[in-house]
């Protein structure tokens, strides 16, 4: 059953390669690139022909961090143990065992932003995967089968860690990965919370976290240290707190960043939470946002309407949406999606790492009821002083999307604000109709104008 043919695109590196190409040359080149980017960004002034103000300067650091991450991945096999993990998985445990982590969802999003997802989806479809399954899954399976990736090369996993707190889809997807790579799959199953979490649900997740240690130790070839785990959890907590603060800065008017910026800047909190440099990065970002707030600089030049985005972004349209909406005076200042990596930070307690991580990983918005999501959106409408809500009805993400029709109706009826259901797919552009979407967005803006 296991894929036995050698996969040419998964290469074992030597320690020398790793040291030379990643540690020495790669890091230095990326640092030089970052200096160049910094200089370029520092020299940017608002352009008359642009509806947006110049991007945040800290993006140069983020680009360096993410590039370094994927560069290390190219040479990781044979040097570090590699785990592929879902975006909502308790990665802190693996970090404490020095695993190098790859987040297939983040990789798929990268493919989406670079507009490579469609061809990778087609690779998967050519192999028999239906167009009706999640486009993240299809993108990554396509990359796995073809070896094509804008990241250069992904390392082959020694371990898979799948947590069902975002959907059941990841389990089906990771079973395919497990069959393909023939490596152990650790499942952290998180019961869906229709109401508040009950003791047996927390105990179940905690026990699975405790049980995964021995499997991970075996693969890692080293012993687990609770002290290291607590340190990683502490970094994770601090980074999540900072990320929440970053997002909450958009409560200011004008908002210093857009949710589209948030989608891009969430890379480190998804991929590198638990690393000290992630904390440094969000401190830097927060400083820059505060500077913008002090100077009254918004992300868009003329912020007339403030909007909430629900669900995953439409990765291949981020730039277009940002400009088009900005051109109509619409700033998408908040999103339920980016909040998911920040709102649980108060639950993280490094002194009780297993119990608190069990609680945290049970409570993402995607693992909670449709009524809870509505309440979260209503709270955000108030706290961010919003004029409307765009609910991305994401064909590829059913747990996020089912319930949106009623959520929209409640937002309109109870809060009296316009709310738009926008049909698309987070990674597959073939499920997006440009003309129809534009017309619906125009009508949505007209409704906000009528209310103003």
């Amino acid at each position: 059953m296991t894929e036995t043919t050698p996969l040419s695109h998964y290469v074992r590196s030597s320690r020398l390669d790793y040291q030379l190409r990643y540690e020495l040359l790669g890091k230095a080149l990326l640092r030089v690139q970052r200096w160049r980017d910094q200089r370029k960004l520092a020299g940017l002034r608002p352009r008359e022909d642009s509806v947006l103000n110049p991007p945040l300067r800290c993006v140069a650091y983020m680009k360096e961090m993410m590039s370094r991450h994927y560069l290390e991945g190219r040479y990781a096999n044979g040097v570090r143990k590699v785990a592929w993990v879902t975006s909502g998985a308790p990665a802190e445990l693996l970090k404490a065992l020095d695993f190098f982590l790859i987040y297939p969802e983040n990789h798929a999003a990268l493919c989406g932003v670079r507009r490579k997802a469609e061809s990778l989806c087609e690779e998967a479809e050519h192999d028999g995967y239906s167009r009706d399954i999640c486009s993240y899954g299809r993108t990554d399976i396509g990359a796995m089968l073809s070896g094509k990736t804008p990241a250069g090369r992904l390392p082959r996993p020694d371990l898979l860690l799948c947590c069902t707190n975002i959907c059941q889809t990841v389990l089906y997807w990771y079973r395919v990965l497990a069959a393909h790579f023939g490596c152990p799959l650790i499942l952290i199953d998180t019961p869906f919370l229709y109401h508040e979490a009950e003791a047996h649900q927390v105990a179940y997740v905690q026990r699975q976290l405790e049980e995964m240690v021995s499997v991970a130790e075996q693969v890692a070839g080293r012993s687990f240290s609770e002290r290291s785990f607590m340190q990683v959890v502490d970094h994770s907590r601090r980074a999540s707190e900072l990320w929440l603060e970053v997002l909450n800065r958009s409560r200011h008017r004008p908002a210093p960043m857009t949710a589209f910026d948030g989608f891009i800047h969430m890379g480190p909190i998804v991929d590198m939470r638990g690393d000290p440099e992630t904390t440094d990065y969000y401190e830097r970002m927060l400083d820059e946002l505060d500077e913008r707030i002090r100077n009254g600089v918004g992300a868009i030049k003329e912020e007339r309407y403030r909007v909430l985005w629900d669900n995953l972004p439409i990765w291949y349209k981020i730039g277009d949406f940002s400009k088009w909406l900005g051109g109509h005076g619409v700033n998408v200042v908040a999103s339920t999606y980016t909040y998911a990596w920040g709102e649980l930070s108060p639950m993280i307690d490094p002194s009780k790492p297993f119990e608190s991580m069990a609680r945290v990983y049970l409570h993402p918005i995607l693992n909670r009821s449709t009524g809870h999501k509505l309440s979260s959106m209503q709270r955000m409408v108030d706290e961010f002083h919003l004029d409307g809500v765009i609910l991305h009805s994401d064909r590829s993400c059913k747990p996020y999307s089912l319930g949106q029709i009623d959520q929209r109706d409640h937002l309109v009826q109870e809060m009296g604000i316009p709310a738009l259901l926008l049909e698309a797919d987070h990674n597959d552009p073939r499920a997006y109709a440009e003309e129809q979407s534009t017309q619906r967005l125009e009508a949505f803006i007209e409704m906000m104008e009528a209310r103003a």
């Binding site: 395919v176 009524g371 059913k398």
Partner: protein
């Protein structure tokens, strides 16, 4: 006489079980603890659509990319189809049913309580312990609905009845080659477990005649969630094929082996966790391939027909690897998707027909 004509209508069954002091629960697909419901004096009537209900009311709450089981069951609820029942139980089978349970409880707010059951996706000790606790939680909800807390005798009676019905179902599958039943009649009998009492199902199963099976020709194994409408079996027979085995959620995937635990909750958990390999329960693909290969060989199935309700993600992910590994074992696979209705589309039938021809 066709089996369907021998079955008591659901409405009459509801009246009868009420007469026995039981309340009625509408149950969505598909793993759930029958013995627990019975011990708490509840009777399940399952809802798999139904196929004859329009999607309209469901479409007012769920997007077009939602599976028909959820769309139609929601329509059925909003059209008053579940009015006679006292509670609605939605097991956590997939993301779509999770969405349905949540929307129903949070927004549709029917008169009846909406009960849920999370089924763990593994078979580890932690999964078993969790499922036992989850069943105890469900039992608390059941007690509120029926006002009854079972004693030892109630549990013993419930296990005796439901396990006898489980054995009767397993026996039906074992006797399948010897039963003088058309495919339609066989699956009508299997699926009557969805609403009959355990005793009535046992009686029906025992009464089915043995003899020469009416259908012959190419043997197929049928996989998926639910084979609707039953007309499908007639059309398959007309093509010169017949269904010799299945891997259906409404069929063989619920042939639970007996368990011997003394604690009732542990016993139910053991049974549910020991179900045949099932993608909705997170079974590794290797297990599914091995089980399908072995059962196809035993039953003489020449090909696997995967008949999926449109947008059923748990089933869709496994298909390429199932196809690859079964084909390597000389067992061809055809995957078709259908929209649930009263007839099978011509397009679907043409594909099945072509598949049968290649097997002939």
């Amino acid at each position: 006489m066709p089996i369907a004509d021998r079955l008591t209508a659901r409405k009459a069954i509801i009246e009868r079980v009420r007469g026995l002091g039981r309340k009625v629960v509408a149950v969505l697909p598909f793993h759930y603890p029958r013995a627990l419901l019975r011990a708490y004096r509840l009777h399940p009537i399952e809802v798999w659509g139904p196929p004859n209900v329009p999607r309209d009311k469901g479409s007012q709450h769920f997007q077009a990319y939602t599976c028909d089981i959820v769309l139609k069951a929601t329509s059925f609820l909003l059209r008053g189809g579940m009015d006679p029942v006292d509670a609605i139980l939605v097991p956590h089978t997939c993301d779509a049913l999770q969405g349905m349970a949540s929307v129903t409880a949070d927004f549709l707010k029917p008169r009846q309580p909406v009960l849920t059951l999370y089924l763990p996706r593994g078979c580890r000790d932690s999964d078993r312990a969790f499922l036992i606790a989850e069943l105890r939680r469900l039992a608390g909800c059941c007690a509120e609905i029926s006002g009854h807390k079972p004693n030892e005798a109630d549990w013993a009676e419930a296990f005796a009845a439901e396990e006898a019905a489980d054995r009767a179902l397993a026996s039906l599958y074992q006797r399948r080659p010897r039963l003088a039943l058309s495919d339609r009649d066989f699956y009508t009998a299997v699926r009557s477990r969805e609403f009959l009492t355990a005793e009535d199902f046992g009686e029906l199963a025992a009464s089915l005649p043995e003899g020469d099976p009416p259908a012959d020709g190419v043997g197929l194994m049928l996989s998926g969630i639910v084979a609707e409408p039953l007309e499908l079996f007639d059309r398959i027979n007309e093509m010169g094929a017949h269904v010799v085995a299945d891997d259906l959620a409404c069929g063989y995937r619920r042939v639970y082996p007996p368990a011997a635990e003394s604690d009732p909750f542990a016993r139910i958990a053991a049974q549910l966790l020991a179900c045949p390999p099932d993608p909705t329960r997170g079974s590794p693909i290797e297990q599914r391939v091995a089980a399908l290969r072995s059962r196809m060989r035993e039953s003489g199935a020449q090909g696997l027909l995967i008949y999926d309700v449109k947008f059923c993600e748990p089933e869709l992910f496994d298909i390429p690897l199932l196809r690859k590994h079964l084909a390597a074992a000389g067992l061809p696979v055809l995957h078709v998707e259908f929209e649930m209705g009263m007839t099978v589309s011509r397009q679907v039938l043409t594909r099945i027909e072509a598949f049968v021809e290649t097997l002939q």
